[in-house]
């Protein structure tokens, strides 16, 4: 695995909190997925591709926006792998790559004023500390 792929993989795993080694290749995530035919990479492939550091094709895949985040795969996975969280982490990677949200958790403070709702501050910190 190239060092770039390794870095990307570690980033995705850290952000999602998913441990793909727990996957036992049963395919129940893909069996349960309602958006299966809309995605070129199916939930079970997502898990092994992330494990192998094959992240670029996932970033370039339109399928990540077809995932409904219904979490059926998360609910039914017998091993607690949570494939939907990987999809979410890859989406986040795209957003960050676009440079639109180049913030870190430390940077959030600079934007604080009396107008920002507390909930927004908390979610900004949560989002950018991932």
């Amino acid at each position: 695995m190239s060092s770039k792929n390794e870095r990307l993989r570690d980033e995705i795993l850290k952000r999602s909190g998913v441990n793909p080694k727990k996957c036992m290749r049963c395919g129940k995530c893909s069996a349960t997925c309602p958006a299966y035919d809309e995605m070129e990479y199916h939930p079970h492939q997502f898990v092994s591709m992330v494990e192998n550091g094959d992240i670029e094709p996932l970033i370039n895949s339109k399928g990540i926006y077809r995932c409904l985040s219904c979490f059926a795969c998360v609910d039914r996975c017998p091993r607690g792998v949570e494939p939907a969280k990987l999809v979410e982490a890859v989406r986040l990677e795209v957003i960050r790559k676009q440079g639109a949200n180049h913030l870190t958790a430390d940077g959030v403070e600079a934007f604080l004023d009396g107008e920002i709702p507390q909930q927004a501050i908390v979610s900004a910190l949560r989002k950018y500390s991932k």
């Binding site: 036992m24 049963c26 995530c29 069996a31 349960t32 996975c77 017998p78 607690g80």
Partner: protein, 664 residues
């Protein structure tokens, strides 16, 4: 002062790899009482033992410290070595520098330092050791088998065959267990009843075996060789010795809508019933939850038609007390509940069934007389989907399933698929699998036959969802090899439910003080070398109560457990453990704390007359320990507020000397 010899074992590189054994031997030379200290590659070998014997003779040693593996491994070896050289075996102490030192440390200086400390503690203890002589206890030459499935039946037959009386306690009205519910057995496909019922008859006819059916063990006291067991015989409201099993009562019973548990609720039975034709004992039982006569006194038909006069509505639970030398646990398994697996629609559709229900649907004595018909409409199913690993290997959903592999499902699913294709070639059969696990004699060949000769569609993938729609079951699944999502309109879905230990196992383990794992399977004394014994002496394990097992494995384990029981019962006396508690009557204040904490009931209190210094007498209540019952756990020594209780071989002074040596 003792004359102590210290022997440090290398255990090849097991110890010497992380512990500088020479440095340990050298360091221990200067400990009080140590006359000689040396090391050797394998202390347990004959030459190692000879070394100890020679040292005993040469240096007139009175105590031995062996720094080696866990005392569970070789304590007996070295005690025998010492005894053969004329030293009391209880003058030997083991310092565990393998499991508790070399195996848990990577760093040589740290490992060496700890080994020296452990050695010092052992030396300090030996200095206070005293020779001990074990007592003997008699053996009750009768065995108890708890559970009357194939495991219990086989164990009982084998023990009886050796000439010892055996009692089987079975909580159901008949013995036979799960195997009696099965149709065919893999990999030879002989009918389960054809091979089980002869054994059930053997049990019934064997004059060495008594069956306590519809009974439970409610209390266990005593210890290996001398268990006192209380058995509760539930009232079946039928006199067992009078009933002929003719079945006239069953024909006349008006209460015909009782869910039949033998057919897993797929049909009904009467309130008075015999579970199945070959039931042993073939005696009717009245279900008090449904019998009108027992509930409100209105009926009594069965008593009227019973020619033998066996019905007795006033029968009460009976408690039987019996002595046993050995106890075999054979409590078996159950499929887990499928109610929590909503995605498979088990609770929503009658046509989603478990594999055990499938067995009953294909069994000639089952609800459909052996015809494979859908439970919902009685039609013949043309597309059947089998789902493997439902609740097995399920780590994430502990509240739903089990982390372990249930082991038997791959084979019985192959059997079901094959038999379906054989009997109904017009049926499409799909099996969804994660892995097919078929290790076993002729097992993989059997599975391959299902695929190659019978055309069963094996698909690598899981079923994600089953949705009842009209009279079909919409099955959504994945085919991982084709990388496709499949949609199958099925008529019947069969779930290979994970298996779990019977619910009665946990309370029984408490009664027996036998240990269990987190899944409630009984733990064996050693996973490889003592697989049929519980760590609790005198308690043995047979069948699926110890872990998922198929019939061939269960029968072999049942025989192995029986041979262990026979080995025990063949002895006239058992050598006890001399490391038992004893009470100093002068210090005992009669508080009963020790009696309350003793798990073995070994402590009793007696009034005793004491002569006081002023020549008067005083009657005081003091504790006394029955050394035959005491197992030396030491709970009483901790509970005793006055320090009157102490343990031979593990005296408080010895433990404190060890602690001092460690903290020095």
């Amino acid at each position: 002062m003792q004359r102590i010899g210290v022997f440090v074992c290398w255990c090849g590189t097991n110890i010497a790899g992380t512990v500088d054994v020479k440095a340990v031997a050298e360091a221990l030379k200067n400990e009080p009482g140590v006359i000689v200290s040396t090391d050797y590659q394998y202390m347990c070998s004959q030459s190692g033992q000879q070394m100890i014997k020679d040292a005993i003779a040469e240096h007139k040693l009175t105590g031995i410290v062996v720094c080696s593996c866990s005392p569970r491994m070789h304590e007996t070896t070295f005690r025998k070595t010492a005894a053969s050289a004329g030293i009391n075996p209880y003058m030997v102490e083991i310092a565990n520098i393998r499991e508790q030192c070399s195996w848990v440390h990577k760093d040589m200086p740290i490992g060496t330092e700890k080994a020296i400390i452990l050695g010092k503690a052992a030396v300090a203890k030996v200095n206070l050791n005293a020779p001990l002589t074990p007592g003997e206890s008699p053996v009750t030459k009768r065995a108890l088998v708890i559970g009357g499935g194939i495991a219990g039946i086989q164990t009982a037959l084998d023990i009886a065959d050796a000439g010892f009386p055996v009692d089987i306690v079975e909580k159901k009205p008949t013995i036979g267990g799960k195997m009696a519910q099965l149709d065919k057995t893999f990999p030879t496909l002989d009918c389960a009843a054809c091979i089980l019922t002869p054994k059930m008859v053997d049990v019934a006819q064997n004059d060495k075996i008594r069956i306590f059916s519809y009974s439970e063990v409610t209390d266990v006291k005593g210890f290996v060789g001398n268990f006192d067991v209380t058995i509760r015989k539930h009232a079946r409201y039928v006199k067992e010795d009078v009933c002929t099993g003719c079945g006239a009562c069953i024909e006349k019973c008006p209460m015909k809508k009782v869910p039949n548990e033998f057919n897993l609720g797929m049909d009904n039975r009467t309130a008075i019933y015999i579970p199945f034709a070959q039931a042993t004992p073939k005696v009717a039982t009245i279900d008090p939850n449904y019998c009108n006569m027992l509930k409100n006194g209105k009926c009594g038909l069965c008593a009227k038609v019973c020619a033998a006069g066996a019905i007795d509505y006033t029968q009460k639970d009976e408690f039987i007390e019996e002595k046993y030398g050995a106890i075999v646990v054979a409590t078996g398994f159950n499929p887990i509940s499928m109610e929590k697996f909503d995605e498979y629609a088990y609770s929503q559709s009658k046509d989603v069934i478990t594999s055990l229900e499938f067995e009953r649907l294909t069994n000639a004595a089952g609800p459909t007389a052996g015809k494979l018909l859908r439970p919902s409409d009685g039609k013949h199913p043309h597309t059947i989907v089998f789902v493997q690993c439902v609740g097995s290997r399920c780590e994430a959903c502990a509240e739903k399933g089990k982390e372990y592999c249930s082991k038997i499902c791959c084979m019985y699913t192959a059997k079901h698929a094959m038999l379906t294709r054989d009997k109904y070639p017009d049926t499409d059969v799909y099996v969804f699998y994660i892995d097919v696990r078929t290790p076993g004699k002729n097992f993989d060949e059997f599975y391959r036959r299902a695929v190659e000769e019978y055309g069963v569609h094996y698909i690598k993938g899981m079923v994600g969802k089953v949705t009842p729609e009209g009279d079909k079951l919409k099955v959504q699944a994945s085919d991982l090899l084709l990388n496709k999502q499949l949609h199958i309109d099925a008529d019947l879905v069969v779930l290979a439910a994970a298996i779990e230990p019977d619910k009665s196992a946990r309370p029984l383990a408490t009664l027996l003080t036998a240990s269990m794992d987190t899944n409630d399977f009984f733990t064996e004394a050693h996973p490889k070398l003592r697989p049929v014994e519980s760590p609790t002496a005198g308690v043995f394990l047979s069948g699926a109560c110890q872990g998922p097992k198929d019939i061939p494995e269960t029968v072999s384990q049942a025989g192995a457990a029986a041979s262990k029981v026979i080995g025990l019962l063949a002895k006239d006396k058992l050598t006890g453990n001399p490391c038992v508690a004893h009470s100093d009557e002068m210090m005992c204040n009669g508080c009963s704390s020790c009696e309350r904490v003793c798990p073995y009931g070994a402590i009793t209190y007696n009034d005793k007359e004491f002569r006081m210094p002023d020549r008067t007498t005083l009657i005081r209540r003091v504790a006394s320990v029955n050394p035959a019952v005491c197992q030396g756990c030491g709970a009483c020594t901790v509970a005793c507020p006055s320090g009157a209780m102490d343990l031979h071989g593990f005296a408080s002074s010895q433990i404190m000397a060890e602690v001092d040596a460690i903290c020095k």
